[in-house]
Structures are given as C-alpha cells and as structure tokens.
Symmetry: C2
Subunit: 571 residues, 2 copies
C-alpha cells in the first residue's frame, strides 16, 4: 500500500493558504500513485487556533474549505485534520474520497496539560474508527490518541486494522522527537500494525512543530522518515500482506480480542487509482539531527516563521558584544539572511572597548548592517529631570534600568520608523531569576532564546561554530565574563551561583516543579537553592510582560507554566 | 439549623495566613452557636492557585494545614475547601468534625472555559455526597456543581438533603451577582431544599471575587445575604422542619426519585453543640449595589488587593488631565488613601495648559502628591541621536511613541527608586484597538481599568461624583475631547467611530465572538466594523505584553480570551 504523508507548514487562521498547500500536496500524492494521503491535525485551521474556535463563522469557513478540498479527491483517499462544527465541536479527521467528505473520525484523547487546552474547545470523540482502502483495513487516530497505550488505537488494531494512521501537531521540545519515534515503534510492535505518523511542521508563536513524520512497519522498523523542521511530502510503500501474515503466527492479540468490547466505527470502503509498486517497501529515511543542531534548527525555524507569518521582512537587535546577543544574531541571519538583519550597538560610559569591538567584528563577519547610537545624551537628560525628586538618594538599580530603557526606546524607535521587528536577546536563566529590565532589554516583539538556558547558549554557539569553518563569532565573546555593563565592573554571575549550578536548580524548580528539599537532596547547595527559588518566584510579574519566544525545553515560561503573580507561596 | 458562612478574602499561596483567617472565623462561628460553618472553595490554597497545584510539596503543605484546622472542630461541623492530593488531585470539600477530617466531597463539574482551567489540575469527583448534622441531611456541592441543573445537586436533593451547601470561588463580572442569585433561588425551588452559598471575596491578579454569599430557603426566598466586596461571617437560621413538611405537600420529586439511580455517598452523621434559636429563621440581608457602584467597588477592591497582597504600600500614576487617568486616581485613592498615591504630570510641547491645570486641581482635590517632570530634555536628546539614522524621513507615529516611552521610563524610574507600583491608565476600548504605546503609557505593574470600556469610564466617574457631594473631578476633564497630546491638535476619536459605536462593536466582537456579518446585521456601520475588527486583530501582540488588570466584563483580555498572535484570520 502506498501512503503519502504531507508534512505541511500551515499558518493559524490562514484558511485559504492552508487549503492551497493541501491541494498542491494532494495533487503530488496522486501523481506519485499514492492510495492514501495524510494531512496533519487541524491542517485547515492551523494549530493551535485557540479562541478562533469560539467563532461560529470561523468554523463555517473551515467547513467550506474542507468541502472544496474533498471535491479534489478522486482516485485517492485523503485524511484531513480540521475543527468540526457539529452539534458540538470536535477535533476531527475527515475521510475524503470520490469528491466528498465520506465520514469523520473524532479525536478521543484531548490533552489539557502543559501547553494544551483542548478540553476548552472540543468534545471528546466516541471511540475508534476504521476505513478500508483498496481492501486494506486502516485505523484512524489523532495525535494524543497514540500517546495512550490503550483505546482507540488498541481497539482499532484488535478490530483488524493493518495500518494505523496518526495525524498530529506535536510541539517540539529538546529530544522529544526521538522519544516520540520510540513510542510509535513500540505501538507498532504492541499492535502488530504499521503506523503512519503525519506531523505538522513550522513555528506558531511560542511553539515550533518539528515535523519528523514517519512510517513504522508492524515489526517496529522505521521504514520512512521526513526531515525535521522542513516541509516534505513523504511517500512510503507498506507491506500490508506481511503484517497480516504475522498475525497468524504471532497470536498475542487473541486474548485481549476475546475479552474486548470493541468500540470501532466502520467508516466505509474505498477504491483508489493508486498502486504500490512491487519493489521493496519503505521510502526515504532522513537522518536525525543531534541534540544541539536540533535545538538550533528549532530556533531558526521558529524565528523565521514568527517574523514572516506576522508580515515582517526585517529584524533589528541590540548587539552588546556578549554571547546572548551574538547567538540571536546568528539565528536571525540563518533564519532570514544578513540583508534582513540590522544590529545596533548602544554604548554608554560603562561600555568597554572590548565588547564594542567584538560587536563590530561579529556584525562584519555576519555581513549585517551595524548602527551605533551612543546613549550618553538621553542619560544626562533623564538625570537632570529626576535630580530634584531623587534628591540625595544614592545611585542604585534605578540608574541601571534607566539606561536599559533608553536602549529599549531606541530599538523601538527604529522599529516604528522602519517597520522592523525587534528581537530581544535575554536567555532563560536570566528570565527565570528576573535579571532583565522590563521595557529595557526585554522590549521587543520576539524573544528568540527566552527558553534557552545560559549553559545551552554556550553549547549552541559552539555547535554553530563547528558547522561553519570560518566561524563568525570572535573567541573573546565566548570567553569574556558576562556583564550587562550597566555600572562599573558589573559581572552577571557575581550575584548568582555559577551557571552550571544555576541551570541545574532552574531545571529542577521550573521544569520539574520540585521544591527546596528535593533540590537540596539532589546535592545542590542549599543557599543557592533558597536564593534562586526566591528570585524565580518574585520575577513572575516581569515574565508576564515579556514578548513570546520559542519553547525548546519541557517547560517554557508562557502557556506551559501558569503561575499567579499574587502568590505568597515560596518554593 | 444555624449555619455560618465565612466569606473570606484569602491570598493564593498564603497557606499560613489563610489558615489563621479560617481558624478565627471558626471560633466566631462556634461562639455564635452555629452547627455548621462553611469556608469557600479552595479556601486553604486560595483560588485559583494555578500551577502551584503541580507541586507535590505545596499540596502536602495544604494537607497539613487542613489537619490543623480540623483539630479545632469540636462541637461544630466545618466544610473547608482545599486541593486534595489522593491517588489523583481533586477540588475537594473536607468535612471536619470532632477534631479530624471525617470525609471529603470531590467536585464533580470542573469548569474549563472562560477564565477556568480546572481540567488542567483536577480529576472529576465520583458523584454527590451528603452528611447529617444534628439529624438534618445536608448535601455538599462545590461552585460549578450548582451551575448545572442536574446532578450532583439533584441527586442529593432526591436522596433527602434538606439543605444544600455550595462553597464557591466565582469570579466577578458586571451583573453576574444578580444572575447567580437568581440561579440559586431557582435551584432551591426546583429541589425543595434550602441552599447555603458561601463565596470567596477579594482580588487575585485579574480576577475579583465579589462575595455576595447568601442563604435561600426551600421556597426560594433570600433569607440572608453578605455584603459584596467585603469579608463577613454571615450567620443564618434555616427552618429545616418546614422544608421537610413541604415535601409531603409538594410531591414533584416523586417521579424523578422513582426513576433515578442516585449517586450519593453518605459521609457520616455528626452531633454539634450549636443550636438554632427558636426565633424567626434568616439572618442579615445586605442591600445589593447598583450596576455602576458594583463595577466601581470591584475596581477598588481589585486594586487594593493587588497592591497589598504583592507587598506594595504606595502607587504612582501619570495624570494627564484626561478622564482615564482621573478615574484611576479616584480608584487608587479610594483603595489606598491619598497618602499612598503619587501622581505625576509630564508635560511636553504638545500639552495644553487646560489639561495641565486640570491635573493640578484634581490632585489637590484628592489630596495626593503631584510631581511635575517636563519631558522636553530627553525628547531633544533622543532626536539628536536618531537624526542621522532617520535622515530625512518625516515625523510619524515614531516620534509620538518616543514621548510616551520617555514618560514610561520616568514612571518606572520613580517606581525603582521609591518602591512604588506604577498603575497604568488605559481603558478597554483603547486596549482593544491598540491605541496605546507599548513600554510607554502601558508600562506599569497593574492596569486598573484595562477591562473598562470608554463609555463605562464616563459612567463610573459620574457615579463617583454623585456619591461625593464635593466631587474632586473638574468638569472640564469630563467634557474635554479626548487626546493623547502626542502631536498638535491630536484627538483620539477622530480616527475611530464615536465611543458609543466603538464600544458596541467591541462588545459584539470581543465579548460575544461575533463576526463581521453578524455585527453589521445588528445595525452597526460596515466601514466601522471592518476597521475596528482589523485594529483589534492586529493589536494582539501589544495586549500580550500588558500588565494584568481587573476583569469586569464577561470577557477580558488575558486568561479569558486566548488568541494567537500569529493569525491570518480577520474577523
């Protein structure tokens, strides 16, 4: 059986554009002789459409688009994800064949944890469903359905499905792709069925979908795999006869089948024009990226899609001569090209010639425009206004924040005047403990590395340098002690534990929801644990006003971590 | 039967403080002879605790607190709301009597719409439950349980409950209190049972809980009612004998009782030291506020609680001489007292003497400090820096935003130096269409009137003036055409439809999720509808970086309205 998996980069709300991409891939799949073509979860609306799903007219527009898509299915069966307005609303997969929507499967397992809010929008589907495509029984599932080891997947397999289809929109986090693949391999082995997993790809606000579609045969062998982080139409032949033969020999399913009360709807039998050739089953198998390259690719794609899908062509960022802004500049150039990136250096009296020179060298190596805007004038002007009201109070954090906000104001002025999107450069470690200035260095439209811990910042820059023989990053940027240069001889890590310790505490506290005692039991120093927890808790109000950025860890600040600002609990 | 309803102002995460408030009211209730005392939903943790519920140690601390509270229950039965860690996590009501936790009821209906995310945190409870208090059968429910006309409420009544208890944390919106009361009245009549509704009160980030606890007898008469927006221990005697007698006469329940498969757990019988006196049933019945007074009171309480619960003593705001900042100043003074409010006027070359004088008069009338910080110096300094890079481009929105951000920077400098919280002054109409400057007028910790439409701003100022014989607001503030005074002769409403039309469009589009066609069918002008929808959609990125503010409408920007930034759907 020949299956086509259309790994698409859809845009939320762009019903017309999404439809065009679906139709183009449908045509390609037909020309490739596919019998069955799969499109990702909610492919027509994009994922996640959030409260667009509360608009009747949006759902009606999606429904009309589905009808148009179905009209193009002749000689092929297409499974298309969309939000379905029926008596209630469902996260559904339409079975399109012979020019019409023949039936729908409705997602059973609705995730409502982490970044997911599907119970907010959808009614739960009634159970499993299967179709026959050229006499091959095919079970249908949507995303979370396959993350559960039980029904509807098991029901469909016990009812005879030789191929299980899963259409998905599974947000990226580091190493999740490999775990997802392992899980699917195990499901195939457990259910003695081939699994075709068709994934969404692309950036959507804080989420990146990593693609990584694949086909696993009933033995658990990965026989086809799409590239990560790119659109692709993956064509794969599946040996369904062999899967059937295996079930005669391997009778593990007999006991559960005897006991089961199967809940599987038969949604019809369809005949196609496609044919599997008689060669070896399988398709192209893309190599997987290693850990750092994967995160870097996610950041590049997430940045490119946020910029482009929001209608921007050009970005601007402050280049301090430090490693964080260097990484953001690298990502921006890789995402958009150097001609679409402007860097700005905004020296003050505390800026060193070293950082300033490094910024110049980096910008030159990257081939990006560099603007220099010294901030001394406004600093003096503000100090004059505030002199009386501040009276004889000594300088403190106020004067540091003032400088950072003058820089934010300058970047925003460039943004307003030239229509550029401001990229901010703060990392997750800083964001966690509140080491940033609201409306200052955090002012901007997209926070590229807000979910990248500082230790990973170093690893990503090293990774990028390894891949590029003429590395654009001056070594002094990597080796210099970090400083915001907002007062004489400032060093960021003097008031914090070393980044290795800081990031270990943050991983436990933020990503794993562990408490003080549990972190100390891990061997982390008690005073550091106390201090960092307190800083993280008190910075919640700052994080609430940050721009969105790309989730790459298991828990990013934003939709995946929802803590009150007003909160007296410490730890 | 004598019931005490403890309408408490709890703080999220403040387990120790919440426990102390519960114990104090428990003692008062006992001294008042109550047999049963009720505390609100999640009274120990505060509501909503959000992702604190993902911390094992937090749930353990709550459990320990519950044990300590239960130890104080002798001679009285206490129903205490708390998050329960069992095999899974439940939103539970503990039945505390004779010094221990005797049993728990687990909430059945978990809201996961609007501002609610309860399915993210809680497992669904198995069904209804009842206890006997001095031989009176009492059914237990939690918040959303009573908003459903069916089980568990109906099951408990059919199983014999004469009194239904509901412990609640129901967020305020305009006119919701009256609707809630009507609903409870109807439930009492439908179920031939008295209902004791014990509500949370107080501000928590974007939510205000309005209190308004009440007791309704089995005929649907409101026999006791707490004040709105204030803590109170409401004591009420319920005539349970009469409710029982009614069921002999009124046999509507026989038919459903015969058919029902009741799902009600019997959680025990308890004997107390309390006694209802032999006088008339009932308790104090507070008057309800009218519509404008209610919204104003919500804003005052929400502001006071956000400021105080977050550890601030003093607030600062920019006073422009316009009506929005005048309203925020009034609310701040009513919430905190004039000695805790500083106003700042920051004139530019475009400021009129009229607005400046009005700001001075208003500040004097309110008795608050007024600081004047003219922004001309920084404006010139910024223009000098940017002259070369802006070259010969004409002035545009950039220069306007620059001024607004200089003002934001000044307010934040005062905040940093003196530890004051910055209140922002933008209203919902502006927030909707994006008429504000990110990091400028929107810079601050709390956006008091972000959910108040402009037409309501005028009504609230009028309402406040009616109540105060020597109204502090100069008439010219009310009558002057609105302007941000960021360029010569600017008027806010020149580029927008009149506020009556604007707010009608926004109510339909934002609160009711209607589309273009539906709004035009309501008689709203098509060009205005098109324009406003477009502006609302494009301002999503700005709203994402706003400070929190108080929800007073049916749908506020923030947790109740979740739209993607990256979104190509228009309308």
């Amino acid at each position: 059986m020949r299956i086509a998996l259309a790994q698409l980069n859809q845009t939320v709300g762009d019903i017309g554009g999404n439809e065009q991409r679906i139709l183009a891939r449908l045509q390609e799949a037909r020309e490739a002789g596919a019998q069955l073509v799969l499109f990702p979860e909610l492919a027509i609306s994009g994922y996640p459409p959030e409260d667009l799903l509360l608009k009747e007219h949006f759902l009606a527009d999606v429904g009309a688009s589905l009808e148009r898509i179905a009209a193009h299915t002749s000689g092929i069966v297409a499974i298309v994800g969309y939000p379905e307005r029926s008596v209630d609303v469902y996260n559904s997969a339409a079975v399109c064949a012979d020019g019409v929507v023949q039936a729908v499967y409705r997602k059973v397992n609705l995730p409502n944890y982490g970044v997911f809010d599907e119970v907010r929008y959808f009614q739960i589907g009634p159970g499993g469903a299967s179709i026959e495509v050229d006499d091959v029984p095919v079970g249908l599932t949507i995303c979370e359905d396959i993350w559960q080891p039980g029904p509807p997947l098991t029901d469909e397999a016990l009812a005879g499905a030789r191929v299980i289809v899963n259409i998905s929109a599974s947000p990226y986090e580091a190493r999740k792709g490999r775990q997802r693949e392992q899980m699917i391999v195990q499901r195939a082995r457990d259910n003695l069925a081939a699994i075709a997993f068709c994934a969404l790809v692309g950036g959507q606000d804080e989420l990146v979908f990593d693609g990584h579609s694949l086909v696993v045969d009933h033995r658990g062998e990965v026989i086809a795999r799409s590239a990560q982080f790119a659109e692709e139409l993956l064509i794969c032949d599946v040996d369904v006869a062999s899967a059937g033969a295996t079930r005669l020999r391997d009778t593990r399913q007999r006991a559960p089948a005897r006991l089961a009360q199967l809940d599987v709807a038969a949604l019809g039998s369809f005949v196609t024009d496609g044919t599997s050739d008689e060669g070896r089953p399988g398709g192209p198998v893309a190599e997987l990226l290693d850990d750092e390259a994967e995160v870097y690719a996610a950041l590049v794609l997430g940045t490119r899609d946020y910029v482009r899908k929001n209608g921007f062509e050009h970005v601007v960022l402050g280049l301090s001569g430090g490693i964080d802004s260097a990484l953001v500049a690298l990502i921006a150039v890789d995402a958009l090209g150097p001609e679409c990136v402007t860097c700005v250096t905004m020296p003050s009296q505390y800026s060193s010639s070293g950082t300033r020179n490094d910024a110049i060298v980096l910008a030159r190596n990257l081939g990006v425009e560099l603007i220099e805007l010294p901030i001394g004038g406004p600093v003096i002007a503000f100090e004059q206004i505030l002199r009386d009201v501040f009276a004889d109070r000594p300088p403190d954090i106020t004067e540091e924040n003032l400088q950072a906000r003058i820089r934010g104001n300058l970047l925003m002025a460039l943004s307003n005047k030239f229509g550029w999107l401001v990229l901010t450069t703060g990392n997750k470690s800083e964001m966690s403990v509140g080491y940033s200035t609201l409306y200052g260095d955090s002012a901007g439209g997209f926070a590229v590395i807000k979910d990248v811990p500082k230790t990973m910042v170093y690893r990503l820059v090293a990774e990028r340098s390894r891949r590029d023989p003429k590395s654009p990053v001056p070594e002094s940027i990597v080796t210099r002690a970090p400083s915001a240069e907002l007062r004489p001889d400032q060093r960021d890590d003097q008031s914090l534990p070393p980044y290795e310790v800081l990031d270990a505490i943050l991983e436990g506290y933020v990503e794993e929801d562990l408490g003080r005692e549990q972190l100390i039991a891990r061997g982390l120093p008690a005073p550091d644990v106390e201090r960092v927890i307190r800083l993280v808790d008190l910075a919640e109000y700052k994080r609430r006003q940050q721009p969105p950025g790309i989730k790459v860890t298991s828990k990013a600040f934003g939709r995946g971590r929802r803590l009150p600002i007003t909160n007296r609990y410490r730890g």
